[in-house]
Amino acid sequence: MSSKPYITFQGSQNFRLRIILSTLSGKSIKIEKIRSTDLNPGLKDYEVSFLRLMESVTNGSVIEISYTGTTILYRPGIISGGAHTHNCPPSKPVGYFVEPMLYLAPFSKKKFSIIFKGITASHSDAGIEAIKWGLLPILEKFGCRECALHTLKRGSPPNGGGEVHLVVDSLIAQPITMHELERPTIATVRGVAYSTRVSPSMVNRMIDSAKKVLNKLSCPVEITADVWRGENSGKSPGWGITLVAQSKKGWCYFSEAIGDAGDVPEDIGQLVAYRLLEEISMSAAVGRNQLALAIVYMVIGKEDIGRLRITKDQIDENFIYLLRDIKKVFGTEVFLKPVDDLNSDDMIATIKGVGFTNTNKKIA
């Protein structure tokens, strides 16, 4: 290994991703200055909760948190998986915890089967449908076919009471090398509008307004109403909508939003529909919120060159942070070259995999 005992990061950004990269690479990391100038310094409760989750799905991980919580040392163990239940703190929805698990799940020793309890929707983190229709298809593209997220109960903020079950049944040695040089053509737009503990008319109003926008498109639009009532609908009233544009080859772009008290369902439906159009215009093969997952999977792929078409719009600060963190941990750089097409500003991200293999799948 390297001469340095651990890789040092600074700041609180990209916290989950850094822990994930460390776990995948097997290299220890140290994160310093976590909100050190904040009024409320150190790790937040949800970050500690995430670390606990990491502890339970790995075997032999060592986590040391400094007294003030501004420095953490993480020595990864092996990904063991198994069946767990994770109670998510009320400050973050289940999506915050499910999302990083997707990076690890296919490479574990035992199958992942984790029940997450808590809030199932929020403004800034992945909703259930976003993961189900947006992120799991990306896993599928990389060879992990049998993964599912079951919604047992929905729980809207602030009180939550939801329950989702993440099952990843296919354990693979390494992801498939990706070659996607075209912008996929979209065949259908689908969507789900849900509500918990509010009148079902909210759902229909969202669907109507979203359809009004999307009817301009020359493809079929189907939006399902998903009304939850009774015990399974959690402790708080809430509603939201997720729209997904799908290509025949399995690529998809999505957008989502949830309603607050005082919001008009028509506005939310419309907003999400317009956001979907914007997202489509900004994405090549994957949307912005799927890019990180796709890039990481490409990096840990076979020692072969993988290619993915991205747009100029997708190269933003997130993307740079992501690539820098990847380089720090794996030492891999991503090469960007413009596509051959003169009419297009798109780039091809070319990544050589590090030849990562699932340690649990190694055959002597």
């Binding site: 609180s12 915050y96 992945a126 065949a187 919120n289």
Partner: protein, 108 residues
């Protein structure tokens, strides 16, 4: 006008990304050619304002400006009004869709 264009160095984004001495924000700015202080006087002033208010944070202010880091899942979008204007017609992305005949009955 042509001269200024030539003066601006064309930055290679592939290299910029891995220049660790630049913050990601600056990388993007340079790449898009927005870094020339002389010309972009307005943005310069704006920046000054910002740094004036957040100077105390030192290193952290760029992290804070940058609220939309990867911890936030939902990407940045323009406001609804702007999006509505932009997408009042969808010709721009029409080529991304398979041109199926529109079903009249779909209009509910």
């Amino acid at each position: 006008l042509n001269q200024t264009k030539n003066r601006r160095r064309k930055w290679d984004i592939g290299k910029l990304i891995y220049m660790d001495n630049l913050s990601p924000n600056e990388c993007i700015k340079r790449w898009k050619g927005e870094d020339e202080q002389d010309e972009d006087h307005e943005s310069d002033i704006e920046e000054d304002d910002e740094s004036f208010f957040t100077k105390k944070d030192g290193v952290n202010n760029k992290v804070k400006d940058y609220s939309a880091d990867l911890e936030k899942f939902v990407p940045y979008f323009e406001t609804l009004d702007k999006l509505m204007q932009k997408w009042s017609n969808v010709d721009q992305i029409q080529n991304r869709f398979i041109g199926a005949p529109k079903l009249k009955s779909k209009k509910t």
